[in-house]
Amino acid sequence: MGGAGCTQKEPADSVQIRFVAWRPNQPEVWKEIIFHDLLTQKLKNKSKDVDVFFMDVIWPPEFAAAGWAMELDDIFDSMERDAFLPRTILANTYQGRIYGVPLFIDAGLLYYRKDLLEKYGFQPPQTWDELILQAQKIVSGERKAGYDIVGYTAQFKQYEGLVCDMMEFILSNKGEIVDANGKSLIADSKAIEAVRFVRDEIIGKIASQGVLSYQEPESLDLFMQGHAVFMRNWPYAWSHANDLEKSRVAGKVGIAKLPHFKGGESYSTLGGWQLGISKYSENKNEAWKFIKFLTSARIQKLYAIKAGKAPTRKALYADRDVIKYNPHFKDMKDVFLTAYPRPRSPLYPSISNVLQRYFSRVISDPESDIESEAVQASIEIEKVISLVQ
């Protein structure tokens, strides 16, 4: 299973064993498709060895428009869909039809060192300015005592995760990436303000310069080793950070909503993984049974407890066992319900590349001309969007 750096060795193995035990005569439909570029090539060539595939939350429009994902309207009826979080169902819908079943939901969260915030008398920060002040105080205090620590760690490498992180800053400043009519808003003052903040106050300041090369594993590693006060990451990081064997900060981790800018609101980027069926599969019935199994309440609960993956079935957020292992799910359910999707378009990869390029250029160069780069990026984004119309 691919995705932004999550390891799912244990639950995946145990899930496979259970499936085989349940239906021992079923033909083998379990296949690991690792990443987007490989999967799209197989589907483009109408390959018969893909039956079920994972889709990142941003792929359904692309896979639907390209004719790779099978329409599931007939077999995934509205009563069934009601059991899932509405935003995840929306992410799988394209032009009124549904193309995938949501398995996990992800949203950006703020992780912090409970022990350090307590020691210095802080409550979790509400605004980015507060976070900066808290980070500076804690870091200087801890460094004096001889501990190596930075204020903030997140994902700022030039890849898809960069778009997720930057979008959270922009949205929390009342900015937007694209509006409902396909007009790009990243050259607006609110968006530029947020990006400037990241460049001038975060990169190389409370976060090390190295975050420009971090994806999820690197930023999580740093936090788990006890070298960061705050971290922005996905829900899966909870179980890793509290793993007594691997993490130095197990039990000292707090979770909160991401901060916002003054006058704005906290926003998290919507992430998550869904399951789709290949239009060229020769085992469509078995594929659907497998998907039903994998997205069933029992399996989602298993994933939640063992790997900290946030389920997409609404009922599980009231389940006692799930809450026991993931107490933050209760508080964060709000965040999951309001997580904000990235622009939904069959050409999202092109849009994303423009955004990745723009963000990376601007935040890695303290002298960058944000306004003109933003205008350039806007033109390119609108060119891509016009292709779809």
Partner: protein, 299 residues
């Protein structure tokens, strides 16, 4: 029809070549022609409803107005120039050393080849860890245990570019060394002996005997390295993904993103064709230079 011996031998020769010829046609010629074909169309995988419109040279015109593509071409040419220069110089030094007689020379020669033998993707991962800003050995070598002084090499546009060059030079200098060593071994010892008797210094022997006589080998090494460097991909894909801020975005990687990540097969093929044409032109230029030199040497 009775064929003469010569004609029969020729016919037999042609038949023997057919398997190789088919191989080259299927695996080399066909993909190249197909790429040309694709580059004249507009193909967007995510929007199959738009079909595969024939657009003539529009993709090429777009390519020359694409500032990212132009920037990546600049990156590629800069990479080719610096890395090839370093590899030839380092390869020459290595070849001169392993050409000498000393105990354990066989083991050293084998060791020199190890970087070349490691698959590029594996070597790239290794270098990615070595350059890591928290636990990388390069930082350890420079700064020891002073973790706060560690630099994030791959997060800085300039140093990321240097890191790619460094990793490539490490990997392929031994290849250049091998080619140059072959050239060194054709130089007759008597020339050096005669020069020594005439009182020539080591440096004079090097510049007046060695260098001129290995020029063909140098040019061949240069040819191979230039051709390979123009198509660099693995190192960029694993170590930096073209970043930060497109500083390590090279043509081949940009073409990959266009074709596979964005599904723009027409435009991406244009980039591939462009890389192919540049490589072809430079190679023809080198071969003409080498060819005339080789003929010069023989007469």
């Amino acid at each position: 029809m009775i064929l003469s011996l010569q004609e029969r031998e020729r016919a037999f020769g042609l038949i023997l070549i057919i398997p190789t010829f088919l191989f080259v046609v299927i695996f080399s010629l066909y993909p190249i022609i197909y790429s040309f074909y694709l580059s004249f169309h507009r193909i967007i995988l995510g929007l199959p409803g738009l079909g595969q419109k024939f657009v003539g040279f529009q993709n090429y015109i777009d390519l020359f107005h694409d500032r990212i593509a132009l920037h990546s071409m600049f990156n590629t040419l800069a990479f080719v120039f610096v890395s090839t220069l370093c590899e030839i110089i380092l390869g020459l030094i290595i070849a001169l050393v392993i050409h000498q007689q000393f105990k354990g020379r066989g083991a050293v020669r084998a060791a020199v080849l190890v970087p070349w033998a490691i698959p590029t993707v594996v070597a790239s991962q290794m270098w990615r860890f070595l350059f890591n800003d928290k636990y990388g050995l390069i930082n350890f070598a420079f700064f020891g245990s002073d973790i706060t002084a560690y630099r994030a090499w791959l997060a800085d546009p300039f140093f990321a570019f240097c890191a790619i060059i460094f990793a490539d030079v490490w990997k392929t200098s031994s290849f250049a060394a091998l080619l140059i060593l072959a050239g060194l071994q054709t130089i007759p010892d008597e020339l050096y002996k005669a020069a020594k008797i005439d009182g020539a210094s080591g440096w004079q022997r090097f510049t007046h005997i060695t260098l001129p006589l290995i020029k063909p080998a140098l040019l061949i090494a240069l040819l191979f390295r230039t051709m390979d460097a123009l198509r660099i991909f693995d190192l960029v894909f694993v170590m930096t993904q073209g970043g930060p801020a497109d500083s390590t975005n090279v043509l081949q990687f940009y073409g990959y993103k266009k074709i596979f990540a964005e599904g723009l097969m027409g435009y991406g093929s244009t980039i591939s064709v462009f890389v192919f044409l540049i490589t072809l032109i430079i190679s023809i230029f080198y071969i003409k230079a080498i060819g005339s030199r080789l003929i010069e040497e023989k007469t």
